[in-house]
């Protein structure tokens, strides 16, 4: 992206000045280097989002942003229902409530290294992954609906995981206002055998260890220490969320015509929050959000079982679970007034500050854990939300962000070569698709440390620890 088109606010904060039909400015969080690497489509898509009715303050863009569907990936926008605000399919995406769960253990690198290969093999066998994989829970009869309305707590009632896990999931693992009547029969059919599956693409499960502590006080609050083994995984609402996105693209295209909304790109289709179409879409999104929480709860249970198979005395606890493709009702301060807004985060992670009542008791005074997954073979980061009022509705980045197409990555690398190279560095890769590994080669992503440093420097969130992978399972 051309920096000449932007107004510099500070070293890591830039503005797309309001022009034409834009109702607010665009605001890009990024260093010169990262912004220069962003495609021009990010500028265009941010400007388009800024035209949507009821948008508040600015259309925000995170440092890992790239060209998306309607919204840029890494886009954040908040809408006021009292100001004609909308809900948009592009602002949530196809993989509704895709997110990351991290589990802490009482194991260290030294404990795990001698049995690392057994541990990774066990986790690979236990956690279904890859195209066409099926979960061990078959959702027959009314259970199909229970998981949509009752999310992770319902899964725990079925014997998958502990009540303590729920304390450390965003929203306690269930969101109200989820009515399965707003989910199509096709979507329901597709969800039946997928709860507890990882999927493919950029989804993964990693065995990691803490290799750097930046903030000792918060690390202790989060229960993190040097060389500690962490299990993290990235996945979402699987085909259910994809089908809801697909179904509502059509329905909201009709609504956009009906309400004469200014849509500059087809995937920005939306509906007023206070309209039958908007209410139905938001309710369907809530169903998929609950399904994703449930999906990650089953995987957490399977991962815990896997760790305990190899290390029977290991204590595996949920550190946190947070989504990054979401639309949620939240309270935010704007010009000194607290407003209830519909916050869309498309490839952006919620990062509530330490004063928020929504945080689990033990994290009050520390901030919300923010889980930022790296590309395969590189570091991931755990941050704590700071939530400055000047920030982006308590949001930060969600990953490193791609810089190279999958086609180009496959031309440059072979899956087998990547597995061998990472193996030489002590990282075990297990996969259902070698071609998938080539597409996800570490070199096809931005350097994650540069992305996270921008977040830290702007005060959106504070770095707490860095973790490095020892083993990675890809779908």
């Amino acid at each position: 992206m051309d920096l000449e088109r932007l107004k510099k606010i500070s070293d890591n904060v830039w503005e797309i000045p309001k022009s034409g039909d834009m109702l607010v400015n665009g605001r890009i969080f990024g260093s010169e280097e990262l912004i220069l690497g962003m495609d021009d489509k990010v500028y265009e898509q941010t400007s388009n989002v800024a035209c949507l009715p009821g948008i508040q303050k600015f259309a925000a863009v995170m440092p890992d942003a790239h060209w998306g569907y309607g919204f840029p990936i890494g886009g954040v926008a908040a809408f006021d229902p009292e100001d004609g605000g909308v809900v948009s399919v592009g602002g949530v995406g196809f993989d509704v409530n895709c997110g990351v769960r991290s589990l802490t253990t009482n194991l260290t690198v030294n404990d795990v290294k001698p049995k690392l290969s057994t541990l990774v093999d066990t986790l690979f066998d236990m956690v279904p992954a890859g195209l066409g994989s099926r979960g061990e829970i078959a959702l027959a009869g009314g259970k199909i609906y229970d998981v949509l309305t009752d999310g992770a707590p319902w899964i725990v009632e079925q014997g998958y995981g502990t009540k303590e896990d729920l304390t450390f999931i965003e929203e306690g693992g269930v969101i109200a206002g989820a009515d399965p009547d707003n989910v199509s029969e096709t979507a329901i059919k597709r969800e039946k055998r997928q709860v507890g599956t990882l999927g493919s693409g950029n989804h993964y499960l990693e065995v990691q260890y803490v290799d750097q502590i930046y903030n000792q006080f918060i690390a202790e609050k989060f229960g993190l220490s040097m060389n500690q083994i962490i299990i993290s995984f990235h996945c979402g609402s699987r085909a259910l969320g994809h089908q809801i996105g697909t179904d509502y693209l059509k329905i909201l295209a009709g609504a956009s015509r009906k309400y004469n909304l200014p849509i500059r790109e087809r995937e920005l289709v939306c509906a007023p929050i206070y309209s039958p179409e908007g209410e139905k879409y938001f309710s369907a999104v809530n169903c998929a959000t609950n399904y994703a929480f449930a999906n990650r709860q089953v995987i957490a249970h399977l991962a815990r079982k896997g760790v305990n198979k190899v290390f029977p005395d290991a204590d595996v606890k949920t550190l946190y679970d947070v989504g990054h493709n979401t639309c949620k009702v939240e309270r935010h301060k704007l010009n000194g007034k607290t407003k209830t807004l519909y916050v869309h985060r498309k490839g952006a992670t919620r990062a509530f500050g330490k004063e928020r009542s929504e945080l689990p008791g033990s994290y009050k005074g520390a901030g919300q854990p923010v889980l930022i997954g790296g590309s395969m073979g590189t570091a991931s980061y755990i941050l704590a939300g700071l939530e400055e009022e000047e920030g982006a509705f308590a949001s930060v980045c969600h990953g490193a962000g791609r810089v190279m197409s999958r086609t180009k990555a496959k031309k440059l690398w072979q899956g087998e070569g990547i597995v061998k190279e990472l193996g030489a560095r002590g990282i075990i890769i297990k996969t259902h698709s070698m071609r998938g590994v080539a597409e996800e080669a570490p070199g096809s992503y931005k350097p994650i440390e540069k992305v996270v440093d921008v977040i830290d420097a702007t005060g959106l969130a504070a770095k707490v620890v860095r973790v490095r992978p020892l083993g990675c399972i890809k779908g």
């Binding site: 495609d39 790239h66 060209w67 998306g68 569907y69 990936i73 995406g93 196809f94 993989d95 890859g130 195209l131 066409g132 099926r134 096709t186 059919k189 597709r190 999927g199 493919s200 693409g201 085909a239 994809h242 089908q243 996105g245 697909t246 693209l249 059509k250 295209a253 009709g254 790109e265 087809r266 995937e267 791609r402 810089v403 190279m404 197409s405 999958r406 086609t407 180009k408 259902h432 698709s433 071609r435 998938g436 597409e439 779908g475």
Partner: protein
């Protein structure tokens, strides 16, 4: 020429191109390209047939609907598709068939799951004597 497919570059996902003498053939080519992202379609036997019916607001929406219906039918039936036919195609409606078999990770050399066909870079054009349809699929 028969239906064929190709790909174009996209930073995060994959651009699929369907080509044919007729629009229906181009739609078929796009479907082949879509499934070839997920499996080696040459390794799939078309022993089972699924009936496909779609409707949409316009021809562009219809193409996306066709691809997304194929994805959902493959998923619901636990299948990989390799061959497609379209016997009726209007501006707003489509009827056709998808042929394939139960998905087999080893036999079909599974690759990357596609979440959905999107409107990004969507185009339907006549180039010389061919129909060419393009869109990005989200993986």
């Amino acid at each position: 020429m028969a239906a064929s497919f190709d790909y174009f570059e996209h930073v995060a996902d994959i651009g699929v191109i369907g080509i044919g003498d007729t629009l229906a053939e181009a739609f078929v080519g796009g479907a082949q390209g879509l499934f070839n992202v997920m499996v080696d379609i040459d390794q799939v036997d078309g022993t089972r047939c699924i009936d496909i019916t779609c409707s949409a607001f316009d021809i562009q929406e219809l193409y996306i609907e066709w691809l997304n219906t194929l994805l959902s039918e493959a998923d619901i039936n636990g299948m990989a598709f390799c061959r497609f036919t379209i016997d009726q195609l209007t501006e707003n409606t489509l009827h056709g068939h998808a042929f394939g078999e139960t998905i087999d990770a080893i036999k079909h050399h599974i690759k990357t799951e596609v979440k959905g066909a999107t409107y990004s870079m969507l185009s339907i054009e006549k180039v010389n004597d061919n129909f060419v349809v393009k869109c990005v699929v989200d993986v």
